[in-house]
């Protein structure tokens, strides 16, 4: 299975008309493996192993994600092992994140477990993100 090209997100939020794109929901019992690409919202309560490109990603409490995330807006309430590339990152109090968080603005709630580097990047970095950098230890 070939690796699909990186789908970059729009820096500016979508206009209200296109916001009606139906959001996808991966339930608690679902395990997905591979590449998930969407222009809309993605809610994950199950387990995902792989790369996610979305406009907005919500990893619900109890959700587990192993891999990289590229999105405009990311909200984490579950466990994540991997890297986040997002303009806006919110880590809820139930979040457990290991890896790297490339962000333009980040919110970490009290109680979140974060074992990660959080490099700040200007919006232009995310705009010109055509290929994910090689993971470094």
């Amino acid at each position: 299975m070939s690796i699909p090209p990186l789908r970059t997100f729009r820096i500016t939020p979508r206009d209200p008309n296109s916001a009606q794109l139906p959001s996808s929901h991966l339930g608690k019992a679902l395990t997905a493996e591979g590449f998930l690409d969407t222009d809309g919202d993605l809610h994950i309560h199950g387990r995902v192993f792989g790369r996610i490109c979305a406009d907005r990603l919500v990893l619900g409490c109890g959700g587990y994600l192993e891999g990289d995330v590229v999105a405009r807006d990311v909200q984490i309430g579950g466990r994540l092992t991997g890297r986040i590339f997002a303009l806006s990152v919110t880590l809820d109090s139930s979040a457990d994140v290991t890896g790297r968080i490339f962000h333009n603005e980040v919110t970490v709630a009290k109680g979140a477990r974060v074992d990660a580097r959080m490099p700040w990047r200007p919006p232009s970095y995310f705009e010109s993100l055509k290929q994910l950098p090689e993971p470094r230890p």
Binding site: P22, F35, L36, D37, T38, D39, G40, G46, A109, K110
Partner: protein
Amino acid sequence: MSMFTRNDKMPDANIDEAVRVRETPPVTAAPKPAQATAQPLPTAPAPRTTGVSVISKALKITGQLESTEDIRIDGEVDGDVRAVSVTVGSGAKVKGTVYGNAVELSGTIEGKIEAEKVVLTSSAHMSGDVIHQNIKIESGAFIAGNCRPEFGKTASASKSTATPMGLGAQTRPSEVSRA
């Protein structure tokens, strides 16, 4: 931002109210509604997680999906899908094998279906084999491939997950007779 402001404001508001209550006891009736409106805020952002997974039409998945519950696919899946009940909506596309107890197809599958109960609706487009125990094909459905019943294999493979469905089907008539 909102996270902190919300958490910080809550105790602040309470303290303010408590102070106000202490200072001016007759005004207790006024702050109470304010407290009531402030309380639902933290609980609001937790949406109820339904068991059914929905792959919306904007989503493309390259890889495998596996679930012990139902899956509804309106988008594109390039890989195998395994679930109790799989619904492939019209406009959806699956390239790969779909395994399940019940599969309802209104979109396109390029690959194979292996399920106990298969429903191909009028907009279904199936290129590949269908292995089933029970099949319904509406007029207008497109099939390019073999349809063959296979009783031993699919039953044994999905027997453990099949029992709830069987029970459900059995209980329904008894409930009707009771009524």
